[in-house]
């Protein structure tokens, strides 16, 4: 019990990093997803191909592999580019930036599919009717597309978020001090790895359960099951 009080706060202090990282990655993922969906739905072939390459590539490669490529490879790439062009000096990518970028980029591909699929499921007649009425794009998005697309994409969006949240545990491998990393350290220092890993287990379960509750509220609002 004493060890739990000695090291417990350190483990829990990782929660803020886990949450910040998850939210930052989510924002980036939504951005990447919007761009990806726009590219896939565009009438230009080149954009379609790029969008398809993005989703196929990202969904074919495991997240940790991409994260390591971005963290280690990206670092080297940026610096050798800087050296070759002489435009910038040595830049060090922080693990936080690499983690956020990697997770955001990866989940952007899943978001692309979520957005594209939901948009495709909206009744085309309504979209055309609204445009034919002379609605401005902003009004059209707000009044016609948004209310219909939200319930359609909510289930898959929820799922993406839950998977994203759990994926953030991987950043402990590139040295970010999140819940997982701290639990591992606490376990090593106290020689009670089971206790602290179980604490991390409980923290993640709590976070996913909380998110689940939040999204359930949203689903109720949109009268979804």
């Amino acid at each position: 019990m004493d060890t739990l009080f000695a090291y417990g706060p350190m483990v829990l202090s990782g929660i803020s990093l886990t949450i910040t990282l998850s939210l930052a990655s989510l924002v980036l993922a939504v951005l990447c997803g919007l761009i990806g969906a726009w590219a896939k739905l565009s009438r230009y072939r080149l954009l379609n191909i790029t969008g398809n390459a993005y989703t196929t590539l990202v969904r074919g490669i495991p997240d940790l592999v991409l994260m390591l490529i971005i963290y280690f490879g990206g670092q080297t790439l940026i610096n050798s580019l800087g050296e070759a062009t002489g435009l910038w000096g040595y830049i060090e990518i922080s693990p936080f930036a690499a983690g956020t970028f990697a997770i955001g980029f990866i989940f952007g591909a899943y978001m692309t599919e979520t957005f594209r699929g939901s948009y495709a499921a909206i009744d085309k007649g309504e979209i055309e009717a609204a445009l034919a009425c002379g609605m401005r794009p902003a009004t059209w998005l707000r009044l016609i597309v948004w209310p219909q697309i939200v319930p359609l994409m909510l289930p898959s969006f929820t799922n993406n978020w839950l998977v994203l949240l759990k994926t953030t545990a991987l950043v402990s491998i590139i040295g970010l001090q999140d819940v997982m990393y701290n639990a591992n350290q606490a376990g090593r220092s106290s020689h009670q790895p089971f206790l602290f890993l179980l604490l991390a287990f409980a923290v993640y379960l709590g976070l996913t359960a909380l998110s689940d509750l939040g999204f359930r509220q949203l689903r109720n609002r949109y009268k979804l099951r």
Binding site: F194, L198, T208, A209
Partner: protein, 225 residues
């Protein structure tokens, strides 16, 4: 990129590929078996046991696989009683720890898929089977389960790819799987791209292969649709 280095080390990657494939196939097979009772007790609302199975699935789906694997490999080693027991034959070994972890995790996801399929079965078919005088066990074994397996196929192919991707965490508990081989190459020769990019490519090839196999399987087993 030093392609010669990659080709010189092909046995390393071949071994890694074999480790990943054997580990994932073994876990998938065991997980699919374990998922059957987990899904049945939930779908048929068996009192108490059904609830327990639902909790099991919720907990394993709500926490990162990395935490689960660490608890099995690093956490349980904390207890002298476990190290002295027969269980240690399995838990003292990284490979079998990974297989146990992947199996328990995959079973939770696959049980959800089966459960959904069991609930979406055609009522008429089940009623017809009972009307023929089949016992409940016969209906489940001969009608419900085979149908549920077919309906699960598309979702199951996603789970297979998901587990393949998730299996990279094995490289964090000293296993030399595909990613482990990449990491080993990088750290031995002080390079950044070669190992990770080769690993990424190998994973993509495996994903492509899985996709093709399941497309064939779906065409065969879901031909009636």
């Amino acid at each position: 990129m030093d392609f010669a280095l990659i080709f010189e080390n092909w046995p390393l990657f071949a071994r890694g590929l074999w480790v990943t494939i054997s580990m994932v196939s073994l876990s998938l097979a065991l997980g699919a078996l374990l998922a059957i009772p987990l899904a049945l007790v939930q779908a048929y609302r068996v009192p108490v046991v059904g609830r327990l199975a639902a909790t099991y699935c919720y907990v394993f789906r709500g926490t990162p696989l990395l935490v689960q694997i660490y608890i099995l490999y690093y956490g349980l080693a904390q207890f002298q009683s476990i190290r002295d027991s027969v269980l240690w034959l399995l838990l003292g070994n990284a490979y079998s720890c990974a297989v146990i972890g992947f199996t328990l995790n995959s079973a939770a996801y696959v049980a959800e898929i089966y459960r959904g399929a069991l609930l979406s079965l055609d009522k008429g078919e089940i009623e017809a089977a009972s009307a023929y005088g089949m016992t409940r066990a016969q209906v489940i074994r001969l009608i419900a389960l085979p149908q549920a397996f077919r309906l699960s196929l598309p979702a199951y192919s996603n789970e297979v790819i998901f587990l393949l991707h998730a299996s990279v965490v094995a490289s964090t508990i000293t296993i030399v799987d595909i990613l482990g081989a990449g990491r080993k190459l990088n750290s031995t020769y002080y390079v950044v791209y070669e190992g990770f990019l080769t690993a990424a490519l190998l994973y993509m090839v495996v994903v492509l292969f899985i996709t093709l196999v399941f497309r064939k399987a779906e065409r065969k087993f879901l031909a009636f649709r």
